[in-house]
C-alpha cells in the first residue's frame, strides 16, 4: 500500500496526473470508500486492502471529463470494465493513468456476518501485504476468525485471472483465488424445470426494493439518462403498483448489458437484499460463448462484440427455438 501511496505522490508532484482515484480509509475497519485525492496530504488517508471491492472504472466516466489526467487504481477484473468503457467511448484513455493494483481476492462484510461474526471493531489479515489465509476479527463479543476465502465475494471464487488487461504500470502481487466453476450456478438453473426456474427468480426478485444500486454501480450501465429514469416511461425507477415491474427492470437491464457485461460482479456486491443478480448476466455470457464462440467483454478495447457485429457465421434466430 505504501508503494502505491508513494507512487501516487510522485505522479501528483511531477504533474503527470491532476488527481488520484483510489480508496479512502473508512471509520470502521471494513468500509473504505472510493475517493479522489489531489494532494500528498490527502493521500495520508489512502487505503488499499481486502475491503476495497468497489470497481473504480465507473467513476472514470466522470473523471474523463475533468481537466488533466487521473491516476486510477484498477484491480485485474476492474481493468476489463475499463477496456469495455473505452470501446463504448465512455472513458477517455488519454485521461487515465492506470495503475494496475494486485488483488488477493476481495472481502465482503456481508459474508463475514453470514458466518455469524458480528460487532466487528478491528480486522487483521485483510491488508494486501499479509496475503493471509485467515482473517481475525476483534468484535464486541470476543475474538473471531474465519478463512480468508470464506469471506470473499462470489466473483473472486470464479476469478478471471491475475492479469490486468490494460494498465500503465503495475504495483503489487495478485493471488489465484479461483476455486469454483464460473458457470456452475448457471448450469444448475438451466437444469431446472420452467416452473422451478420461475419460482427461483420470483423468490429472488421479489426481494428487490428498486434502489437501483445494481444499475448505478454497473460500468455497463453508462447511459446518461436511463430509460427507467424517464418520467414518461410507465415503468420508472421507483416501486410500482405490482411486483411485475421488478422483474421487468432486471430483465431489461440484463438484456441491455448482454455482450457488454464483463462479469465484474458489482451488481451482486452492492445489492442490499443479496439478490444474485450476476446470474442473469452470466447466463447471457454462457449463451454468447456457446452461440458465437468464447467471448470475454473487455478483454481488449477493439474487438467488436458478438451482439454488435454481423458475420455470415452468426447464429440464426431460429437457434432459440431449437435450443
Amino acid at each position: 500500500m505504501q508503494e502505491l501511496i508513494n507512487r501516487a505522490k510522485e505522479l501528483l508532484a511531477n504533474g503527470t496526473v491532476a488527481r488520484v482515484l483510489g480508496w479512502k480509509a473508512g471509520d470502521l475497519p471494513y468500509n473504505p470508500e472510493p475517493a479522489f485525492f489531489t494532494t500528498a496530504e490527502e493521500l495520508e488517508n489512502f487505503v488499499y486492502n481486502g475491503f476495497c471491492g468497489a470497481n473504480l472504472s465507473k467513476y472514470m466516466i466522470a473523471a474523463s471529463k475533468l481537466e488533466g489526467k487521473t491516476m486510477v487504481c484498477l484491480k485485474p477484473c476492474d481493468s476489463y470494465s475499463f477496456n469495455q468503457l473505452i470501446k463504448e467511448h465512455r472513458v477517455d484513455r488519454e485521461k487515465a493513468y492506470i495503475v494496475g493494483v494486485g488483488c488477493m481476492g476481495k472481502l465482503s462484510i456481508e459474508k463475514v456476518k453470514e458466518l455469524g461474526i458480528k460487532g466487528v471493531t478491528a480486522v487483521s489479515g485483510a491488508e494486501m501485504a499479509d496475503g493471509a489465509e485467515t482473517l481475525t476479527f476483534q468484535t464486541l463479543y470476543g475474538e473471531k476468525s474465519c478463512a480468508y476465502s470464506d469471506a470473499m465475494l462470489e466473483r473472486c471464487h470464479v476469478c478471471k485471472g491475475k492479469e490486468h488487461v490494460i494498465y500503465d504500470e503495475l504495483i503489487g502481487e495478485s493471488k489465484d483465488t479461483k476455486d469454483a466453476e464460473r458457470f456452475a450456478e448457471v448450469e444448475k438453473i438451466e437444469a431446472m424445470s420452467p416452473a422451478e426456474k420461475f419460482a427461483f427468480f420470483q423468490k429472488e426478485l421479489s426481494k428487490c426494493i428498486r434502489c437501483n444500486a445494481c444499475r448505478n454501480v454497473c460500468p455497463a450501465c453508462s447511459c446518461r439518462k436511463c430509460v427507467f429514469d424517464s418520467t414518461k416511461f410507465d415503468s420508472d425507477q421507483k416501486a410500482n403498483v405490482d411486483s411485475f415491474e421488478e422483474k421487468m427492470f432486471h430483465v431489461i437491464r440484463a438484456f441491455h448489458v448482454a455482450g457488454r457485461c464483463t462479469d465484474c460482479g458489482e451488481c451482486s456486491r452492492v445489492c442490499p437484499q443479496g439478490i444474485p443478480l450476476h446470474l442473469f448476466n452470466r447466463k447471457f455470457i454462457k449463451d454468447i460463448n456457446e452461440l458465437y464462440g468464447d467471448f470475454q467483454a473487455g478483454a481488449d478495447a477493439e474487438t467488436k462484440g458478438p451482439l454488435t457485429n454481423f458475420t455470415f457465421d452468426d447464429a440464426e434466430p431460429s437457434i432459440v427455438t431449437n435450443r
Binding site: D234, N240, V270
Partner: protein
C-alpha cells in the same frame, strides 16, 4: 412482567394470528425483512436489523390510493379502503419504534394522512430489546435506549425465554389475548439483560458521536459549506440509504394505466433520484451534490427546525451497513466535525 419460552413462540404467533395480522422479521431467501406472518414462516428474532426498516407496516413502499374504471362514457372512482383490521408488528427495535414517532410527526399532523393514521390506529407494536447491538448502531446519540424499548409491549429475549411487558392500553389488550401462553415472572433477568446491553452500547464506536452544531438554526452555514462538494463524490445516486431508512418519508404519487382505467398509487421516493420533486418548471436540484446534501440537511437541520428539534435520524445504522459506496450519515457528521465544515 410475563414470559414465554422461545419454543412456544410459534404457538404465540398462531394465537395472535387468529384475530389479527402479524408483521414479523422473516427470513426470505437469506434476507430478513418484516413481512406478513403466515404459518410456516421462518421468523428470525436473532438477526439484529432487518434489511428494510419495518416502516412498511405503516407506510408501505407502494400502496394504491384509488382506482378509476372506464365503462363506455361512465367513469367510476373507487377509493382504496382504509385499514380497518387490527394487526401487530412483532419484534421492532427501539430505533425503529422511534422511527415511527418521526413518521407520526409528518403524517399525523394536519393535514392528517388518513391511510397512515388508520394503520397507526389499528397497529400494536411489540418491541424487542437489542440483545447484541452492533458496531453500526448509534441510537444512543439520539437518546434512544435499545435496552428498554418504548412501545405498546416491550420484550426481551433472555436465555431462550421471551420476557413480556405491556406498556400501553393496546399492549394490555394484546397481553390479555395471549395470556394463556404467558407465565408471570419477576424482572430480575430482564434487569440484568438491560445492564448487559447498556454496557455494550457504551463500547460501540459511534455511541459518542457529537451532533453539536446540527440543529434547526444551522441552515445557512451547513447548506453553504464547501464540504458537500467532496463528500458526495463517491455517491452512486442509488436509493439504498433512503429505502432501508426507518424515517425517510418522501413519496411520489403516480398513475398507472391498467389498460381499462387508472390506478393512482404512491410509492417511496428517494431524494437521490433525478426526478425527485420534479415540477412543471423542471427540477430544483440539478446535481447529485445537491441531492446528496438534501438528505442530510433534511435529517439534521430541516426536520428539527420544523419538529421541536427532533432529528429525523434514529441511528439504526442501516445506511452504514448498506451503502454500496460506504458513505453514510455518520461519515457526514464526522466530516463536518473534523474539517470545521462551517468555514
Amino acid at each position: 412482567m410475563y414470559k414465554i419460552a422461545k419454543e412456544n413462540l410459534t404457538a404465540l404467533f398462531q394465537l395472535m394470528a387468529a384475530e389479527r395480522d402479524i408483521y414479523a422479521p422473516v427470513n426470505n431467501g437469506g434476507q430478513v425483512n418484516f413481512e406478513a406472518w403466515a404459518e410456516g414462516a421462518e421468523v428470525d428474532l436473532d438477526t439484529l436489523k432487518s434489511v428494510k426498516s419495518p416502516k412498511d407496516a405503516f407506510f408501505p413502499q407502494s400502496e394504491n390510493l384509488y382506482t378509476c374504471y372506464r365503462d363506455g362514457k361512465k367513469i367510476t372512482i373507487q377509493p382504496e379502503e382504509l385499514r380497518h383490521e387490527d394487526f401487530v408488528v412483532f419484534g421492532m427495535k427501539a430505533c425503529d419504534v422511534k422511527g415511527v414517532e418521526v413518521l407520526d410527526k409528518v403524517f399525523l399532523s394536519e393535514p392528517v394522512d388518513t391511510f397512515y393514521a388508520a394503520r397507526r390506529a389499528h397497529g400494536t407494536i411489540v418491541a424487542l430489546a437489542c440483545h447484541e447491538p452492533e458496531e453500526t448502531c448509534f441510537c444512543k446519540v439520539f437518546g434512544i435506549d435499545c435496552a428498554e424499548p418504548v412501545a405498546d409491549v416491550a420484550t426481551w429475549m433472555v436465555e431462550g425465554e421471551l420476557y413480556w411487558k405491556a406498556l400501553t392500553e393496546k399492549g394490555e389488550a394484546l397481553t390479555k389475548a395471549v395470556a394463556s401462553l404467558l407465565t408471570e415472572t419477576d424482572d430480575a433477568k430482564v434487569e440484568a439483560e438491560k445492564t448487559a446491553i447498556r454496557a455494550i452500547v457504551e463500547k460501540l464506536p459511534y455511541s459518542n458521536l457529537s451532533l453539536e452544531g446540527w440543529n434547526g438554526d444551522a441552515l445557512t452555514e451547513k447548506f453553504e459549506s464547501p464540504i458537500w462538494e467532496d463528500l458526495y463524490k463517491p455517491c452512486l445516486a442509488c436509493g439504498t440509504c433512503t429505502f432501508v431508512c426507518p424515517t425517510c418519508q418522501c413519496y411520489d404519487i403516480k398513475d398507472y394505466d391498467t389498460g381499462h382505467g387508472v390506478q393512482r398509487y404512491r410509492c417511496w421516493d428517494s431524494c437521490m433520484y433525478s426526478d425527485f420533486t420534479m415540477m412543471a418548471h423542471g427540477n430544483n436540484r440539478t446535481s447529485q451534490m445537491q441531492r446528496f446534501r438534501q438528505r442530510f440537511m433534511h435529517k439534521l437541520v430541516y426536520f428539527p427546525a420544523n419538529n421541536d428539534s427532533m432529528y429525523s435520524c434514529v441511528g439504526c445504522g442501516r445506511c452504514v451497513e448498506k451503502c454500496p459506496a460506504s458513505l453514510n450519515i455518520v461519515k457526514v457528521i464526522k466530516a463536518f466535525e473534523n474539517q470545521g465544515g462551517d468555514r
